[in-house]
Amino acid sequence: MGDDMVRLRKLLPAAFVGAVLAYLYAPIAVIVIFSFTTSPRLSMPIEGLTLDWYTSALSNSLISTALRNSLLLASVSALVSGVIGAAFAFGLVALKRPRLRASLLGASMLPAIMPLLVIGIALAVFFRLMHVQQGLLNAAIGHVLVSLPFVVLTMNARLETFDFSVLEAARDLGATPGRVLRDITLPLIRPSIIGAALLAAALSLDEFVVTWFNIGSQLTVPVLVWGLMRRGIDPSINAIATMLLALLVCLVAASALLNRKKSK
């Protein structure tokens, strides 16, 4: 009796952890699994495995257009957010006045906690006032806005441990400010910039709310999937979601890896 109690007490935490993990990952696992099953309906047991949903998804011209737009937006976000965010964070960390630094960092973080709905609507209204047609460009501007705070945040965290005296050492040894940037600064922070840029790409790939309000009649993968879902669950949606998932996991993992590297 007492032994059973002890065993139960040991099992309970494990069961709890298992339940939480199942809650977090079961829906995703289901989608991944059903993207490979032959039955068009979501049913158990699994009848057979196939890659048909992937071929049908990739041969669908709507889907390939959406994929192309999504990748374009992700690239623009990575590039623009990466460069602006890195430069901004570098400037922040070099500031000598800690109060000013903290408030500027806070100000650049604020959009990250602002509801996406508010950002999406505000941008849409703003573009309307400026007489700018909805479209990909508007969505791109929205994506940069949404990812920039995260780029600043990760760059800032990395740069907190950056030893600025190496830049002075290079100046002291005869390097002009331009040479210092080329020989020392960029090589040292490049992994962090690329890591932050990959994060921006990941954020852009699955952005929906801000995109929806600003992209007009154009499609991205999330916008298309949302449209398809209104007509019922098509197994090719599972395939699209799984591909998106794989891409995001790669981007986020690469980003984390690059940021961990050299952060000693």
Binding site: S165, V166, E168, A169, R171, D172, L173, K262
Partner: protein, 363 residues
Amino acid sequence: MTQTAVEIEGVRKRFGAATALEKVDLNVGTGEFLSLLGSSGCGKSTLLRIISGFEQPTEGSVRIHGTDVTRQPPERRPTNMVFQRGALFPHMSVRENIAYSLKLKRWERSRINDRVDEMLALVRLEGFADREPGKLSGGQAQRVALARALAGEPRVLLLDEPLSALDLKLRQQMQLELRAIQKRLGATFIFVTHDQTEALVMSDRIAIMNNGRIVQHGTPRDIYRRPNSVFVSDFIGATNLLRGTITAVEGKRVVLRTDSGTFHALASDMAVKRGERAALSVRPEAISLRRDPGATPEGYSVAGLVDEIIYQGNTVRVGVRAASGAAIWIEGRGDDFDGLSSGTAVVLSWAPDAAILLREDTE
């Protein structure tokens, strides 16, 4: 001192409302090892950064070998710096670090390699050329930093507490090495430290800083033997200060009345007046201790009871409490004080020229 390497004239530096340097004048001779010594925050690094070009003085000028460099950026100045924590380029090997300034000067590759090897030999790190800086110990990293700074043959080498992050044994060893390298090269070194022993051991000359000013400069011996203020005598080495009022001036001889008694001292080149406040500084090792009251030299002795005996290995420190309650420390070899114990009545005395009269610092 044949030629002046660095001339600092009337340099003042303000950061906003705060003043870091207050009208500093200093000359450093060619081939001289000069230490800037002072406690943290007194402006040592600021002065060094003004010489290297990282800070602009609010007023005043810096000349190096006769050329006014006050407005030159750091990369144009004939100075190099060794930073407190090395500041090695982490993405370059030891060789690339040392070669960096030579590459910027567009030296030929073979000449650069020869020079790097020469520098590695100088700091005794042959065989470390291909190491990453992250895989060096603290002492090795500082040696590489030194080699990197010396590679381009700067006319003046600036060192900002380069040894302060090392532990004591290594620090003492590096002090001697650094001094030997400086002598071998005949280079001009300006060395910042807050450690008075370090400054005494290494320097040709020491400039002592306090609150953004140079309060005294001279050879280590001069400064130790002839401090010009209570601050300096207290800062350099341990000392006993007997504070009081001047009651008589008889030629060179001054009589000072303190709580612990009346003492005599020589006013060397200091103009003093009756009634002025002053202090007498007597070094612990200049005081001798006797147990019999016998004939005590009037004006150069004080009686008291042994309070504390502290063994320091090769030396012993004895704290004696005078009748006034003032504690006076003396220091000597261990066997000088055999048989003493707490409460023993003793008489302390010193030679007339061991007592240095100092004016109280006026803030």
